[in-house]
Amino acid sequence: MKIKIILSVFVIMLGLAAGFYFFRPHTFSGTVIQSPQPSFNFTLTSASGDVSLSDFRGKLVLVYFGYTFCPDVCPATLANVGQALRKLGEDKASQIQTIMISVDPERDTPQKLAEYVGHFHPSFIGITGSNEKLEEVTSLYGIFYEKSPGNTAESYLIDHTATLLVLDREGYLKLVFPFGVTVDEIAGDLKYMLDQ
């Protein structure tokens, strides 16, 4: 009888270890947000016309705020997102829409934005709008930005919050990635969200 109990306990322990390993819950690399309501919907302008956030219901939407003259942070983040999409494969990537919102409408025309984001992944969309509209959208997405003067009037930089936001298929903010998130971390979290 004792042997039977010991054997059963042993099998349970072994099963638990295996169970935890194979069925361990996904640990998100980004910070999970449990928004009680969908994110603020906005309409801004792309090279092909007006784009609203609500146009992409049914897809995961990655939102990134930056500008094309951005020397390092923006290209590094967008390149990582592009690579993560390639890693996920065409089928999964087609269920994800990445939007870059330029906070530099003076220099970033919609055409220039389209050309810029296309370097990172063909599916990316670049949008921008009036300063007034951008003030509203950035504030509600927790993005602070301000001009930092350069040597000439045109060579200014823009300091901005560099987080990457992920909205689920229903438009709820689900994840916030900090700057420096890796390709594998982005791909891992997006894959999990798509498989749910």
Binding site: V11, P25, T31, S35
Partner: protein
């Protein structure tokens, strides 16, 4: 199937189910929900200096909303902040700074000078407690009304209708609690307790402890 193996599988399933229920029922770890991103802003404070949302990163921030000509409700809000400040040493914060930001929705009258005089009249500790606003009224409505989801309306006779509330934001700029009205437990008691819950989470935000805290979020083990 082998009898021992079958017993093992049943035992394993039972253990997993019991553990999940036990976690949910006994809530060994409690957290505050990550409700939404706090709005970004650039305001002017009582010293006529800029106060931005970025300046407050890394701190726990308790936001309140008012106008200096406001009668009774603002008195209660301010007294609550003073009580929290005086009792802050009851909470183990591990060096995390707490900031209090009171945003006025009456920028026409609440200039930096007025806010400074108001802060002085309250004997407020302005090193940690800022009073701020912006003359950009549409942005102010975006920040307070849409961002912090706090209702206010200019009644046109020098008074405002508004929803007296507190909003607690963590060091990552995420709204973690909203206090819309007082219950049997005073707001000061709840807010102080919530500072402690947040500090516990920050303290355990790495390694295996992080997994347990994420499980608490998953199972909605929210601190009352």
């Amino acid at each position: 199937m082998n009898k021992y193996l079958l017993n093992g599988v049943y035992g394993l399933l039972a253990l997993i189910v019991v553990s999940a229920f036990a976690f949910k029922i006994f809530q060994p770890i409690q957290v505050l929900p990550r409700m939404q991103l706090s709005p970004a802003f650039s305001l002017t404070n009582q010293n006529n200096e800029r106060l931005t949302s970025e300046d407050l990163r890394g701190k726990f921030v308790l936001y309140t909303f008012m106008y200096t000509n406001c009668p009774a409700p603002c008195y209660e809000i301010n007294e609550t902040i003073k009580e929290i400040q005086s009792r802050l040493d009851e909470v183990e914060l591990d060096g995390i700074e707490v900031a209090y930001v009171t945003i006025s929705f009456d920028p026409d009258r609440d200039t930096a000078e007025t806010l400074e005089a108001y802060a002085s009249s309250l004997n407020a500790d302005t090193q940690h407690w800022s009073f701020a606003t912006t003359t950009n009224k549409s942005l102010l409505k975006t920040i307070i009304g849409s961002g912090f989801e706090t209702y206010y309306e200019d009644k046109g006779n020098g008074s405002f209708a508004f929803d007296p509330s507190f909003v607690l934001v963590d060091g990552w700029g995420i709204v973690r609690a909203e206090y819309r009205y007082s219950t049997e437990v005073s707001n000061a008691d709840r807010i102080l307790r919530h500072f402690g819950v947040l500090a516990d989470e920050v303290r355990n935000s790495t390694g295996s402890a992080k997994l347990a805290y994420e499980a608490a979020h998953l199972f909605l083990c929210y601190a009352p």
